[in-house]
Symmetry: C2
């Protein structure tokens, strides 16, 4: 049987490895358009921050290992262009402009997502960068070094933008951040986003929110200029980090159903609208465990997990993924910022009778040295009492704390049940009432 995979990163290579492990006789072919496979994309900002490290440190497993040790027919520099669903053939073109075609019994589309570049003048100039795949990371790292960049303008203020902001400031590069929408971290409750904003500004970064970008221009001094209505910002490099869009064109052209945000629509078994074609990773949608509805939140863990599920399913198992809670965490300077589930606005939009609390507590026990503030937001549903989501910000103990409400969301727990959880306490790590319990106790009063 031929298992063909388009895309050689998290979802694609997870599926390839596991399928081969499940059944060594399976013929597994992976076509990857770039020359890189199986790398830690999320690690790029941290790698870029350290000039002493090569960017290829981020490769988790080399192409050679996949090919020689695992017997996977891994083809880099192979751009898949067309899926003939009737005859079950994928065809495309290599970097050397050679045509290729492969028959499949089962096909996995794991094409990922691409960084969005607005269709505006100057966004194609040299020095205007995006960061989604390793090639782009390499380009940025080389550019910073070769040009001895001293100032960068970042368009966008999402996870990647903020992680890159920290990385660049660590290299002593000045950073201005600009974005069209007026609200900083619009998905976050204001009390918490204000803490994050203050932290970034304290590091000498200026945040220009509410400035729609008109164009990027070259300056006389071989620099770049981001031009807004009422503002121009200069730098030797511009990083565009305004979000990603699923690489679903090949699926759409093949007649597969697309869903939310044009992601490839898949069922809980990762099957597309064609029963021999699966999709996994950042190109595919997912069910949200809180709403039960489709969502598009492309993150690494889901990609790996979905890759495994596809491998099991083409091997005859019937794996259904329960869905995602949208759990995410990032570090920005000295802060940990995390979320899981729905925020208040999302909860209302999904039809819940939502209530929200924000509490401020401490990261350590009463009178324990080194304690820092920690903020917890929590959302619940008045009708059912269910916990719907949580957000946290603090200097320590946020990144792993968020996993407790994430698990509670999977279990469809009520706020009351969550509030009764026997959480860990020792003075160096938490107050007796963990900040999450304090938030749950406060939220209970409003439900």
């Amino acid at each position: 049987m031929d298992f063909v995979i388009i895309g050689g990163d998290a979802a694609g290579m997870s599926a390839a490895s596991r399928a081969k492990r499940n059944n060594p006789d399976l013929r597994v072919t992976v076509m990857e358009k770039t020359l890189d496979v199986s790398y830690s994309a999320c690690g790029m900002p941290y790698n870029i921050a350290d000039p002493a490290r090569d960017i290829s440190d981020l490769v988790v497993r080399s192409a050679a290992v996949f090919k020689e040790k695992q017997g996977i027919n891994l083809l880099t520099g192979h751009l898949a262009e067309k899926i003939d669903t009737k005859n079950q053939i994928v065809s495309g073109t290599t970097r050397e402009q050679e045509k290729f075609a492969f028959s499949y019994d089962e096909l996995l589309i794991a094409t990922g997502a691409a960084a969005i570049k607005p269709d505006l003048s100057g966004f194609d100039l040299p020095g205007v960068m995006v960061l989604k795949n390793l090639e782009e990371g390499r380009l940025i790292k080389d550019y910073l070094k070769i040009r001895s960049v001293k100032k960068v303008v970042i368009i966008g203020m999402g996870y990647i933008a903020l992680e890159m902001c920290e990385a660049l400031r660590g290299l002593n590069i000045a950073v201005d951040m600009v974005k069209p929408r007026p609200t900083f971290l619009p998905w976050m409750v204001k009390d918490l986003s204000a803490v994050v904003k203050a932290e970034i500004e304290s590091k000498g970064v200026t945040l220009y929110s509410g400035h729609p970008i008109k164009k990027i221009e070259k300056t006389d001094t071989a620099g770049l200029m981001v031009v807004c209505e009422d503002l121009t910002l200069n730098g030797e490099m511009v990083l565009v980090a305004v979000g990603v869009t699923p690489n679903s064109m090949i699926a759409e052209k093949a007649g597969l159903d697309l869903g939310i945000e044009r992601a490839i629509s898949v069922d809980k078994g990762l099957q597309t609208s064609d029963k021999h074609i699966f999709a996994a990773g950042d190109c595919a949608d997912a069910y949200h465990v809180v709403t039960g509805e489709k969502t598009y939140i492309p993150l690494a863990l889901r990609a790996n997990r979905a890759g495994w599920a596809v491998a099991d399913n083409i091997g005859g198992k019937d794996v259904k993924l329960s869905g995602i809670a949208g759990t995410a965490v990032f570090k920005v300077f000295d802060l940990e910022v995390a979320r899981t589930g729905l925020n208040y606005e999302e909860a209302i939009k999904s039809g819940f009778d939502a209530e929200e609390v924000v509490i401020r507590s401490r990261s350590r026990a009463h009178a324990h040295p080194g304690s820092t503030p920690i903020w917890v937001q929590m959302v619940g549903d008045k009708t059912t009492g269910r916990l719907l989501g949580s957000q946290m910000v603090g200097k320590e103990g946020v990144a792993h704390r968020i996993n407790a409400p994430a698990v509670a969301l999977h279990a469809q727990m009520t706020v009351e049940q969550f509030s009764q959880s026997d959480l860990a306490y020792a003075p160096p790590f938490s107050p007796v009432w963990d900040p999450m319990l304090t938030a749950a106790n406060q939220l209970l009063k409003k439900l």
Copy 2:
């Protein structure tokens, strides 16, 4: 109505405050045998570690605040000695040897637990210390200072013993630890306890396990000598930290039912076998959420929570506590050590068809700087697939990670469901597959 409380620490003062808040007209009387109320007992090792801090920093709320601001009739130095359940009267003696008696409509016994002192020769010598209440903490701190102690022998190797070991080493005091049983941290799976053992030994502490203690003697040089069959250990102070026992004598004498380990037996609403008497905190037992059976695991969060529940219940509510998971965490030198739920032996003993895995993973993502090893043990039930417990050790990210399986235990999740949780990932905090998910995935293969 008269609400009378015996014991003025976590459970007692939580109940008093909340009862008064629920109903300002309620007459609330608290009798506390010591002169201290409402302090962070768990913070004592950390306070003792810092000579610059006064031990009374640990007092969360002073007696004056309870009395004057909250209107609670708080009586320190009042030892309750007898409960007349028929006439609903508590009587006792003050430090000034005056007799007292109070009528109650509802009574809460929150007498806590006492450190166990073996009934052996020399355990009553000056310089032989225990550490459970603030008076004992004060005594130890003063003794260390006044005597300029250079060497301590700790009998016992549980949480308190290990936290005190760290505190003393931080003061540059030499420490030997000794205990009768042969196994270090017997509740912990060997692969993990070996990591903890190595950490402690690396700090110049010698661990003598398997040495039953015969007696303690004075030495010629005004020091103390712990005498075992085959070993003597010298120090200027001996800390006895071999566990605690519930202060349940007054309840037993009143004819109340005692349960496991002689803790006062309570139902989910914290009621004892007398319907007007409640018990909460370290003197009372609890239901375990995994086994559904009674257990005795005296910890601070439960004490606070139970105090609140009693206050609500005497006010006419019907609060039932779901129970405890036995979640606990402690820090010892550079390690975080945590557990929740049952270990393998407890699971077998409780009738589960248990399987166990231990995995070693990393605290941060592939190629992320500063990553350290993290060990996760996980126990599941073959018959039902249920998650039964987890243990973790590592230098970072353990203390809060344990809360995720703790919540899963409350939700009675299967290992499979837990393995599908959408946990947080960012390179500074975790691999893509969080170590807990790796453990769950491995455990699934054995179920």
